[in-house]
Symmetry: C2
Subunit: 352 residues, 2 copies
């Protein structure tokens, strides 16, 4: 591929994991912006907030009281979108049926990353982030061992702009019977690739990214962060395990440290991009928990951050993107070069 | 299907047009909201704004000067995401290729709906909305007649919250060589249904919606508005032509009036839902402009509005929705009942 030509002309790229297309308009980031301007993220928070329903010892919306936890803390979501119930229909629906519905049992949990109300992942020390990694692995195993649960989605919405309703550092887990839409797409394509080549799709993709060295942001012995070829969000990244493991439970102790290290490094770079606590939605994609072996599955994390040009100007995926297809205003290569050039200084140190 | 059971339990529904799934959590709308609160849409604007680059007679960002137009006005977008260029690759990409890119030529235009800076579609008189419908039809035919253009996407982003950067009433057209992602999905499923049954998918769907009468919002002789079985956005609607026409050019004169009427009625209901100029992204899905006949295609409009509970509390499709699948917090039937109960009074009249 001729990167110089792609940097000049509108073109489409295909997401190898999902099969979806994105329209890339390399120079559109230059247009003037007269639209919505986001609020600056509130930066000075107290270490403990007596009104926060996630802080240690405080009362939650449902009435329960949090323990005085000192590392991570996991509880069932008081307003769960999924709950235990009847199993999905056994028969796959016919394509001819225009009114398909099927029960979907599941569970929703919340993971507090830290007792400290004023931190975010990039502010946390490595051992504390490693504690979060361990909690993720534990919850995936625990929830996934329930025969009613076929998929465990661990994710984080960070920042008001990403619908996060409490700044206390936390993520969520939605565990359910079926493979959700986007996971099912990645599942199909990873399976087809593995059937064809005997290697995981992401192993082949990662090897080629490392060879080309055009979109790599940062790497350590266990994980590589790349702005994927098919990135939709302006500074979207994909975090790929170097070894083709199917889920967190297959990571060695050193690789878990590696994941903590890479999460800290990529989120610190994000914070440094526009000198603001960088909002995003992020999550972990792992093998289905259906009790089968999944040699085709390759553990990875997606980071979907909305900011485009500054701490207050975001990308909107709206009209054309909802009706036509996702569209971006700069190439993946340009975004990767910017992220690669950034320091990994914690934002707090810069504020001094 | 047992609607009572669906109103009680989390379940998934399938979008018959796209094949995509949505997770429905009927009671989740009750949870307290402590997150981002949107600004109230600015309501009092002057009829003419000397600083607006869309008002008649004013200068645009590119330097050009708008004519003193009196109805609709169409021009090429000064910061186009698509422009004329080389044709897409002729060969479809192999599934094994992990780095697929293809040139995408096209054109982007802007349609001012009215010279009046202070109006929106629901504020406009019927003959003026009919003028917009005629402009849509004209532009679809004109752009579609270019052999380099295979698809014409007409859409509107309304409101700052939907990334609209200028409140002057306007929409956009992005015309391009290929079928964009979401359209390609609807295309495949409409074709499969037509091949199987000899009728359009939406003709069969509409007949069944009319028979069940559970999700219909409003209808006239030419168009029906329904909260689709598979709605994702809280008050999403689908506007379906009663006759299975493939594009706007096939509408009779009376049906064009019918489309103007239905656009006015559905957008006025939206404005009345939370007593605010209702933000949305909306657009028209029509047959590809590849010179072929498309008996499988059935003209429809999608309205994707973000507000969930009030003028300032929106639905966020974020973490789980981006990594797992779209999720909604009330059933389509509940949303339809609320929209059905609303008056069609223009917001301006209520303000008096
Ligand atoms: O062209 P506009 O209105 O400035 O831009 C808006 O609509 C476009 C088409 O949906 C999006 O790509 C932009 O992100 C959005 O801000
Ligand atoms: O559960 P929360 O954080 O209150 O809610 C947030 O994340 C959920 C999962 O992505 C979304 O469904 C909600 O729309 C969003 O506001």
């Amino acid at each position: 591929t001729d990167l110089a030509a792609l940097a000049e002309h509108p073109h489409r790229r295909r997401n190898a994991l999902s099969g979806e297309w994105v329209l890339v308009s390399p120079h559109r980031n230059q247009r003037p912006w007269q639209g919505q301007v986001e609020k600056h993220a509130q930066s000075h928070r107290p270490a403990y907030d007596p009104t926060c329903y996630l802080c240690p010892g405080n009362a939650r919306a449902g009435g329960a009281e949090n323990p005085t936890y000192t590392s991570t803390f996991v509880f069932d979501n008081d307003f769960a979108a999924l709950r235990p119930g009847p199993a999905p229909d056994a028969e796959p629906p016919s394509d001819a049926d225009l009114f398909v519905a099927s029960p979907e049992p599941g569970r929703c949990r919340v993971i507090c990353f830290s007792p400290r109300h004023d931190l975010t992942l990039p502010d946390m020390a490595l051992p504390a982030i490693r504690g979060v990694v361990d909690t993720w692995a534990e919850q995936y195993a625990l929830l996934g061992s329930d025969p009613a649960i076929g998929h465990v989605q661990i994710f984080e919405n960070k920042g008001e702009i990403m619908g996060c309703s409490n700044p206390h550092p936390h993520g969520q887990i939605w565990a359910q019977a079926s493979l959700p839409l986007h996971v099912a797409r990645e599942h199909e394509r990873q399976r087809a690739h593995h059937d064809r080549h005997g290697r995981t799709l992401l192993a082949d993709y990662l090897a080629e990214e490392l060879r080309r060295d055009e979109r790599i942001v940062v790497a350590n012995d266990a994980f590589v962060v790349v702005v994927p070829w098919w990135a939709v969000w302006p500074f979207e990244t994909l975090v790929v395990a170097r070894r083709p493991v199917a889920h967190l439970g297959e990571l060695t102790d050193a690789e878990r440290d590696g994941l903590a290290d890479i999460v800290q490094r990529v989120t610190r770079r994000y914070d440094n991009l526009f000198d603001v606590s960088f909002p995003y939605s992020a999550g972990i994609h792992q093998a289905p928990t259906d009790g089968q072996a999944h040699p085709e599955w390759h553990l990875h994390l997606h980071f979907f951050p909305p900011l485009l040009r500054s701490a207050t100007v975001r990308k909107f995926l709206v009209g054309y993107e909802m009706l036509g297809e996702p569209q971006r205003d700069l190439t993946a290569e340009t975004a990767a070069a910017r992220l690669r050039a950034l320091p990994e200084t914690p934002l707090a140190d810069k504020a001094e």
